[in-house]
């Protein structure tokens, strides 16, 4: 079963992260990278992707003539996707355990961030899907 583990945060949260010391950031990334390696070794790794900072986000809607209308204004409370992991696991519990490990990744001073990680299944109903 494929699951996607979504890491999200507000603009303020991202600003906080960008202000971490290089040592704290390296410690955080080292743990995330080792989780990635373990998932690859166990055959559960499918994909991972980090996204650019929220300041680069645009919302696009189609106009009648098909030309895009872009807008870069979001509510303060908006949770932006920061990155994701896709894993192929035997049970939902295994997906939750991996998400918990990501949530445990160290933050400033080595204290676990305890970030919430959203865990979702892929669509099993007709939706835009890879063919």
């Amino acid at each position: 079963m494929k699951y996607i583990l979504l890491m999200s945060g507000t603009k303020a949260g991202v600003q906080g992260y960008l202000a971490w010391s290089p040592k704290d950031r390296d410690g955080h990334m080292a743990v995330l990278q080792s989780i990635g390696k373990e998932l690859t070794a166990s055959g559960e790794f499918v994909a991972t992707q980090g996204l650019a900072v929220p300041q680069e986000a645009k919302v696009v809607r189609g106009e009648k003539d098909g030309m895009p209308i872009t807008d870069g204004i979001f509510p303060e409370s908006k949770e932006f996707l920061l990155g994701y992991w896709i894993v192929d696991v035997a049970t939902p519990e295994r997906a939750y355990a991996i998400a918990a490990r990501i949530s445990m990744a160290p933050g400033p001073g080595g204290v676990p961030t305890n970030m919430p990680i959203e865990v979702r299944q892929f669509a099993t109903h007709p939706q835009p899907k890879q063919q």
């Binding site: 960008l18 950031r25 986000a57 895009p68 209308i69 949770e79 939750y96 979702r120 835009p128």
Partner: protein
Amino acid sequence: MKYILMMMGTKADFDAYTRWSKEDLQRNVEFMRRFSKELKDSGVFVATEGLGWPQEAKIVRAGKDGEPITDGVFPESKEFLAGYWIIDVESPEQAYKIAARASAAPGPGGKPGNMPIEVRPVLGSHADLGL
């Protein structure tokens, strides 16, 4: 340059979608299939995924011993990722144009849904954050 195009919606939006007529759903799904095929044919396609219902979403945090604590309660206003496309294009404008097409996907009665599509660059690596 790689961009991710994200379709998001609240639970209420998802609920409304389930009430579309079969014909409307079919038209929408057909559009999405054709859209993905066009992205592939034009060589900009990287990946696409549709996610399961928000009702199946869980938030996971690590407990004191690292065991997962799952929670399925979200604020009404929470925007859930419905699906995404990753494309590899020459310019942000091209990404916005493609997002506008996705936004124009037909809704009830075949009218363009005019859904907001969030567009963000994806990171080649963590170093792209410029830290």
